[in-house]
Symmetry: D2
Subunit: 125 residues, 4 copies
């Protein structure tokens, strides 16, 4: 097993390590270029969309348990590939997410965004 | 601010809370049905794919810093919508991910998967 | 059967009519809002991506026959939802495509684009 | 310009030829592996989804003209990459679509599918 960088204990690092071991043991690193992982991630996100495509928004808020279980698996797959891709690019997912929310706060000031689903590029139109 | 369920300290719960406050303040909950959030999530995952579509796998492993910064933002957006969607469906993302990896261990036994990118449904073909 | 607008004979109009009859007979128009159809279309496009995610670019140029047959089905599904969505929005797909290629000619002048995969927004960088 | 296979006059073949010339003139064939084209196609399909993600189904049926114009461009881009990908794989898109509709007729018999959005794999549940 290759020597790991020191990792702090956290949700995302736990998953990162599980994914590294899983891929290493199966000699899958050859398939895990960022390009390929971005494809796999988008495929999982679409498997989520597929569960909702014919439902109304109201129905999507009230899924039966068996459906919820399937959706939980797709959410899981999406997170796992996201963690794997961030690992391969050496990007700290949590920091990136926190920074992005700060940036979103500037892009979407409360007075302009309140009750409004417009993209920030459309403000004033 | 609505009363929150008790949350333990963790990466994903920190993001969950940031997202809840952000949406509440902007009166955005009306747009955040699981159906809509699944769409937004898939759109972000595709913005990631767009960065890699014309690159070779090798180039995708060696991104210049400005590209890495953009990709970090898309990874962040993807994680944020994932956390938001899981929250709305009341699904514990971390547990779902850990369970999925256990299931994957059964679907992809080392002896059948080693060095092989086939989907488990294709084993034996 | 509802009265159809007069349609000229063409590939896309043939498919449009097949899709209209299919959905009408099964009372599926209730599910075919443009919002829902955009989701279904993106799901099919991702099923295509799934076939290629672990292949190299070279392998993707040399698919075995059974794989090609599966891919042909996904291409078909993608086209069918595209035709259906355009129909519901009353958009002439062929005209839109021809106009877009004219616009692309302006966005991507030969001297700037030759051998270069950059998006037009990145010209000069 | 490379020698073309004989093509009959049709919507899709017209677009195929336009795309071939466009890519050839710009020396873009190097980027147009099926793998890459599948990625580009999925990205365009997601740009369509983005237009609808915060709209209700009802709003999606009543788009203002400026929105319709943007959506027409995304539909166009999706069709163009679809034609390009089918061309590179030497797949006849129109035949594939017609065959798929025949297959769909068997998968979704009217008596089981009428007014029902279930996937054929879920019939009986």
């Amino acid at each position: 097993m290759p020597k790991e960088k020191t990792m702090t204990n956290s949700d995302l690092n736990t998953l990162k390590k599980i994914m590294r071991d899983f891929a290493y043991t199966r000699d899958w690193n050859q398939f895990h270029s960022p390009k390929n992982l971005s494809m796999a991630l988008s495929v999982e996100a679409s498997e989520l969309v597929e569960h909702f495509q014919w439902l109304t928004e109201e129905q999507s808020k009230n899924l039966p348990q068996d459906k919820l279980n399937e959706v939980a698996n797709e959410l899981a797959d999406t997170l796992l590939y996201l963690v794997r891709l961030a690992d391969k690019l050496d990007i700290d997912l949590l920091s990136a997410a926190k920074n992005k929310m700060k940036l979103n706060g500037q892009k979407y000031p409360v007075d302009q965004s309140r009750g409004n689903s417009k993209k920030y590029t459309e403000f004033g139109s």
